[in-house]
């Protein structure tokens, strides 16, 4: 289907909608009432069919909104369905998870943070709020009190395996617990594997051990401060998140960054892809006990980090994009060094690719393991290398090109098998493509300024997508014309890739499950961004509380010293 046919197809559902807007050719906005949302969603996902991206819950003053974002990858078109829930007292909407498992987590998240009930949801346990968070307090509602006070009495003890948000498994079945801390993963997460001998028969997971409340904090920052915040969502995708946000804001305000800035963005994002993929290849080696690959891959990755440091000043958290362009330019003297380093890395990657594809034990360990079929990949709405290894050749860089990807010559890598081996091959070959892109970009980069001046961000809403190393990073920004976003939704690729474990792990050996869990390159710091709770001490760490605590402590010390009027001058001797 081309864009026109898509428009015609979408028009079939017209009479259920309140309005259709199409500000630009490949962005379509639908609005509807909550009652019709189920039917329209089913139409969009099953009949058109579109790829589900994410949903956003918003508390607008007189009602709640749930935005369902879909993508049509052939034309790079974004379709957003906005459903209004008018009843503020008892907000309810029909769940779409029964036919769209990929929406299960986001509906749980929206329920956690906004208190919207999803009727007929298969599993309405908490996802991101900690187990001892009080009932009926929804942190992303505009009227949420700060700091949240706990209900009377002792807060519940810290979460245990039996706490309500964890599924209780019948005691007759042996359960292998992976996490919250486990040598397999470098971040906190909790997998509960029900096992029968060596075979895994069921898997349940719990995330949310590391919330930082990024979306909430973002609402309190100015538009130009947000990139620094979102680059800290994840140390590895610290170029992708800010870029996606910046692109959303630029679309909202109609800003065109200068050509040179687009090239700089492209180069930095591809460097990021190389270092992320090589890092993953090393970790994958470690997970299957191949520590030599682990160490070698990480050594090969070092020159990339050095380059990034030379350009932006940081090995991670580059903070280089801003609305309207870039902060740091790539100096022309650095070009030969970049090209030279690319040659070096390409040589080493060729060696690594050959070693991996020729090793019979690696074949035995990775082929046919953790298969995610194409159907499941669509149902769970996975993105990035996880989707491409299941034969779905989607790539934002190709489908809805940003920066300068459209002007460069490169290929989307995809493999049909869907197993772990395919994921390895996709990632390694993508490194080679990234090297190709960087070479062309370095040679073609034009002279000129790297930023334009930005004055005002008008009211409106927009989405921005970037192909991060792990898949599509999606940012939605709404502005009311002030200097801060009123809602900023972040969907990192892991948020949709991680739940696909349900489809790929059951029936596998324990030994295979660990590498399958790792094969989507899960990033928990990306997946968990919302509440701000220390679940062990039950303290809410928001800024006001900390400030108050700090002041109280100062006052107390003063009192203890018995010197209420103690001044700096008094302390000086002589």
């Amino acid at each position: 289907m081309n864009q026109e046919e898509l428009n015609n197809k979408l028009a079939e559902i017209k009479d259920k909608l309140i309005a259709i807007e199409q500000p630009v050719d490949n962005k379509i906005w639908f609005t509807c009432e909550a009652e019709n949302s189920y039917e329209i969603n089913k139409f969009l996902f099953e009949e058109v069919p579109l790829r589900f991206v994410i949903a956003t819950g918003i508390d607008s003053d007189d009602c709640f909104e749930v935005l369902y974002h879909y993508a049509y990858d052939e034309t790079g078109c974004m379709v957003t369905l906005k459903a209004f829930i008018r009843d503020r007292e008892k907000p309810e909407i029909e769940s779409i998870a029964p036919f769209l498992p990929g929406a299960e987590w986001i509906e749980r998240e929206i329920h956690d943070i906004l208190g919207i009930d999803f009727r007929n949801h298969p599993d309405m346990r908490r996802l991101i709020l900690s187990d001892d968070w009080p009932e009926g307090v929804y942190p992303l509602r505009k009227d949420a009190k700060k700091p949240v006070s706990w209900p009377d009495g002792e807060p519940s003890s810290r979460p245990t395996v039996d706490s309500p948000s964890r599924r209780t498994v019948p005691l007759s079945k042996p359960v292998l617990v992976v996490g919250p801390f486990h040598p397999l993963q470098e971040e906190m997460e909790f997998f509960q594997l029900t096992i029968d001998g060596e075979i895994v028969t069921d898997i349940d997971m719990r995330i949310s051990y590391n919330h930082r409340g990024i979306e909430k904090i973002s609402e309190s920052l100015q538009f130009d401060q947000v990139p620094f915040l979102v680059s800290r969502i994840c140390g590895i995708c610290s170029a992708s998140h800010p870029l996606a946000y910046v692109q959303a804001v630029e679309e909202l305000a109609g800003i065109k960054p200068p050509e040179r800035a687009l090239y700089v963005r492209t180069i930095i994002n591809e460097l990021e892809r190389i270092h992320s993929h090589v890092l993953w290849a090393g970790l994958a080696g470690h997970f299957i006990g191949y520590d030599t690959v682990f160490m070698w891959a990480w050594k090969y990755r070092e020159p990339v980090l050095d380059l990034l440091e030379e350009i932006t000043g940081n090995r991670n958290n580059y903070g280089n994009v801003k609305v309207g362009g870039c902060r740091e330019d790539i100096p022309n003297e650095l070009k030969p060094k970049i090209l030279k380093d690319m040659d070096e890395i390409e040589k080493k990657m060729d060696m690594l690719i050959k070693a991996v594809t020729d090793d019979p034990i690696l074949h035995a360990r990775l082929k046919g393991v953790g298969v995610l079929s194409k159907e499941d990949a669509i149902k769970y709405a996975v993105t990035g290398p996880t989707a491409r290894a299941s034969g779905i050749a989607i790539d934002v860089r190709q489908d809805d090109p940003y920066a300068v990807y459209a002007d460069l010559d490169w290929n989307v890598i995809s493999q049909p098998e869907g197993d772990v081996f395919a994921k390895v091959v996709v990632r390694l070959l993508e490194v080679i493509e990234a090297i190709k892109i960087i070479r062309q970009a370095v040679k073609k980069i034009p002279e000129g300024p790297i930023a334009v001046e930005v004055k005002e961000i008008p009211a409106g809403e927009a989405v921005g997508c970037v192909e991060a190393p792990r898949g599509e990073t999606f940012h939605y920004v709404r502005s009311d014309g002030g200097n801060r976003p009123v809602r900023h939704k972040v969907r990192a690729p892991s948020f949709v890739n991680v739940p696909s474990f349900k489809a790929s792990c059951i029936g596998q050996h324990i030994a295979d499950v660990t590498i399958t869990l790792a094969a989507v390159d899960p990033c928990y710091s990306c997946t968990e961004r919302l509440a701000v709770v220390d679940q062990y001490s039950n303290i809410i760490h928001d800024y006001d509380t900390l400030l108050r605590l700090s002041r109280e402590r100062t006052a107390q010390i003063k009192k203890e010293l018995g010197a209420p009027g103690l001044k700096m001058e008094d302390l000086q001797i002589g």
Binding site: P183, L184, I288, T292, I361, I510, A511
Partner: protein, 310 residues
């Protein structure tokens, strides 16, 4: 009386406990250092394995509530006793030629003790991770024991029915086709006995978080570590005696052979990913079993027709 004291000295000081532990810790330093160099790391200082054990000795011993306490505590000691005896016996044969008929069979039995102790200890620890590790260790033992014994049978045939290690060590069975095959298989079995990649399946830290050893801590864990270090002395030494003609005339050629085997073990360890347990079983039973069936046939034919190189 003096004889008993003499034996006690052999077991406790030289060539028993103290000597084997010192040698074993040094060998495990070599393993760590060479692995590090292969992986472009710096690696630990010479005394690091020693410091590790000393530090563990000073740590608290935690015993899980539901564990079978006596078995849980005794298992590491049993395992270490087995390796200690094996090492003392092998060194005594090497140095003083105090061999006896059938000592190769005693050695084979003693070599199983550490694995048995590991199985006992981990199944007594009442942890799901350990139980997965236990079942893996059991399957692994069952997989490699048969090929290992078959490999020794090849040697016994090659040496004309000798069951005496000192006599076996007079010859070099590895200098023939069947002997070489048997040696390679036995090397892989030793790799599995040592619990090194690709056969570190029972400990697999990224899957079952060091499985069999997960509940052990403090001094008990230190005993396991010492046992593993001592195995690093005894098992390669055993291979040297059985396949490579023992220490022979000079100490240095003997040590050279020992280092050769150690280097082979390290190289295998660093150039392979971990196998899955079903793959390991298949590997030992089918591939190694087949290789040894051929080796045994060749050895019998060679023996019968007087062709030494078969």
């Amino acid at each position: 009386m003096t004889e008993a004291l003499q034996s006690l000295f052999w077991i406790i000081v030289f060539p028993g406990f103290l000597f084997t532990v010192a040698f074993g810790l040094f060998a495990s330093w070599i393993v760590r250092k060479v692995s590090a160099l292969v992986q472009w790391r710096v690696g630990p200082p010479l005394f690091q394995p020693f410091y590790d054990v000393v530090k563990l000795m000073g740590k608290e011993i935690l015993v899980p509530q539901e564990a079978q306490q006596a078995v849980f505590m005794a298992a590491p000691l049993v395992g270490m006793a087995g390796v200690l005896l094996l090492s003392t016996m092998l060194w005594r044969i090497t140095i003083a030629q105090t061999a006896f008929v059938g000592d190769i069979i005693v050695a084979i039995y003693l070599m199983v003790l550490p694995s048995l102790a590991l199985i006992l200890g981990s199944s007594a620890s009442a942890s799901p991770h350990a139980s997965v590790g236990t079942s893996r260790e059991m399957k692994l033992v069952m997989s490699y024991e048969l090929p290992l014994v078959l490999a020794f049978i090849v040697v016994i045939i090659k040496t004309g029915g000798q069951l005496n290690l000192a006599a076996i060590a007079q010859q070099v069975p590895a200098l023939s086709i069947s002997g070489m095959l048997a040696f390679l298989v036995a090397l892989l079995c030793v790799q599995a006995k040592l619990g090194f990649v690709p056969f570190d399946i029972a400990e697999a830290e990224t899957e079952v978080a060091s499985g069999v050893l997960i509940e052990y801590s403090g001094a008990l864990l230190a005993v396991w570590k010492l046992m593993q270090a001592m195995m690093l002395v005894a098992l390669p030494l055993f291979l040297v005696m059985v396949f490579l003609g023992g220490f022979g005339a000079s100490l240095w050629t003997g040590l050279g052979k020992y280092v050769l085997i150690l280097v082979l073990v390290i190289l295998i360890k660093n150039t392979n990913p971990r196998m899955r347990i079903d793959q390991a079983m298949k590997f030992f039973w089918f591939y190694c079993g087949l290789a040894l069936a051929i080796a045994v046939t060749l050895a019998i034919i060679g023996n019968y027709c007087g062709i030494n190189w078969l």
